[in-house]
Symmetry: C2
Subunit: 347 residues, 2 copies
């Protein structure tokens, strides 16, 4: 580093993102050297080539991508950085694939405090460690002030498929048990509480967490996983509707059985939200043959991320995809797909 | 589709991007069904799982990512869509890898005309076909008006490495010939001419194009490719500086030999730009053993994208990484790395 007096003081030049940090020159190099590499260092990334070279010979691969635009960037229980790691790692897990490698593409807004970027990047490194993935390639772009919103992050992920049979709506059968891995709604309400300046007696903290340990345990126990879906944007209701529609089978769930924390239920009541539609970042739904329900629950309850797993319903016989909620007062109502936008920029 | 009068006319609801297009509900589904799937349809994508399942058994893989924030979205010779495909496919090619699979992550600004998105997506489909890649997984987010800039696109790519030996700065040797594949500066000037409202006698058109055909031909001819770099942000000067620094060897190039179209040279003169620093999206630099120079040039000149390939210089012996330009008037000057931001949002 050059400390000659004719240069701007390094602190002044580097404490906020400038357009030149995206120019591919010295400033970009410094951003990579000082912020990204120290956080993500590994042999594939350190090679600093245009791409990472990976050895995955003899494996079936899963490949996925997700962009993250959550607002605010930092919220109770996490920030956009760990969300970007868990979100993509979890999409791989939902394919029955062990998350292995991530790419990270940053779109930074001019003027972003470098301190915020450092915090986010540190969270990504920690989250990658927790999720067992390696960030092997990346990219940074900078857009003019007012043309972005702090930080957007895209992650793409490669995983190795460990499920012996294909997982997906096609494999769902009438009679299958439907299990959710934990309590619904915490991520969405954590975001909303910051955005709306709400305070609750006990703070609501995002559930963002890696899901692979639960899937790995289910596979190791020999459970036949027919379908998996993480309950992000659109929540449980949207995931079940997608599966019911794709398989053209009715799904029936019991309101009594659906796990929602008291504080989340209360907050949803105040805000006029239905927890069935609220986003989660560490909860999934699992479809297994009815005969394996007890075994699957036993396995899941031993893994921290799915320790609150419960059966919430079943797939019925029929020819039309729909989701029916059997309510606490004994009625039935159709749970439709979200038709508007309930919670924008939740992930 | 519902034509009941109480619903908004489908044209009215769907001719611009709304926040609900990013909500994970019906509007998101419609966007996927009506815009993305028809353009990118293939079996891996059509499965509509959280990730794409790929069979690449027994291959060495390259993995890369790039976000695209080019402004304007549409420019002479291309748009952000084909740029996003070629950019990532070319990064794979620069690893000696055949581009195979792409992911596509869209960050859309509320209010974006659907027509613009359709045009961009159609270009991506055509570019993917031209580049021999399949778009197998994707994601869409929508941000509030004023928090984005029309469309940002991230693509990540997986390729299968076909180069028998590792390509990179480490393989560069003193005496290596340095070849550029075509004329410099067209992409940068095409963008700038729209942005600044400049008109030239003959319009300057972006050079964006897939580079793999040239690399494939070089590999097929048995050329020892020591190093490859596409000349995007920061141009030839930045690429050569990175390589010289990484390998700690001096590079010498001849100003006379560097190919720049007359119209680009003229425009650079008017704008005070040095074509050595201007971004390209269809030009690369190649390092080969001196003894293979003629053969490499013969091979490249038979491939359209590299038909104007020329040798521009050589790697010299030494211990310090630097790039020296031997000028037309017989002097020498150091070509340094870009230290500010010459052309923001060029890709």
């Amino acid at each position: 580093m050059n400390f000659q007096p004719q240069c701007p003081a390094p602190g002044a030049a580097d404490d906020r993102i400038q357009m030149a940090h995206g120019g591919g020159g010295k400033m970009t190099q410094r951003l990579i050297d000082q912020v990204f590499l120290p956080a993500f260092s590994n042999s594939a990334l350190d090679a600093l080539h245009d791409g990472a070279l990976l050895e995955l010979t003899g494996n079936r691969l899963a490949f996925t991508t997700d962009s993250f635009v959550v607002n605010p960037l930092i919220f109770p229980g996490g920030n956009i950085g760990d969300l970007a790691v868990y979100g993509t790692a979890n999409d791989l897990a939902m394919c029955g694939a062990r998350p292995r490698y991530l790419s990270a593409g940053f779109i930074l807004e001019e003027g972003l405090p470098m301190e915020t970027l450092r915090l986010i990047v540190a969270s990504m490194a920690e989250a990658a460690h927790r999720a067992g993935v390696t960030i092997v390639t990346g990219d940074t772009k900078v857009v003019d002030k007012g043309k972005g919103d702090g930080v957007f992050i895209n992650t793409a992920g490669i995983g190795t498929v460990e499920s012996p049979s294909p997982i997906g709506p096609h494999a769902v059968q009438p009679g299958d048990s439907i299990i959710v891995s934990g309590q619904l709604g915490a991520h969405g309400l954590a975001i909303l509480s910051v955005r709306e300046g709400l305070e609750f007696e006990s703070p609501i903290v995002s559930d963002a967490a890696p899901l692979w340990p639960a899937i790995e345990a289910l596979l190791a126990a020999g459970i036949d996983i027919n379908c998996l879906r993480d309950l992000t944007r659109g929540g449980l209701a949207s995931a079940l509707n997608e599966i019911a529609t794709a398989r053209a089978l009715p799904i029936r769930i019991e309101e009594d059985a659906i796990p929602v924390a008291e504080v989340v239920r209360g907050a949803c009541g105040i805000l006029g939200l239905d927890p069935l539609y609220v986003a989660n970042e560490g909860v999934f739904v699992l479809f297994v043959p009815n005969s394996q329900t007890t075994h699957a629950l036993e396995v899941m309850r031993q893994i921290p991320v799915s320790s609150a797993a419960v059966r919430i319903g079943a797939v019925e016989d029929g020819t039309r995809g729909s989701v029916i909620l059997h309510t606490q007062i004994g009625g039935n109502r159709v749970v439709d797909m979200l038709s508007g936008e309930q919670l924008p920029r939740i992930c």
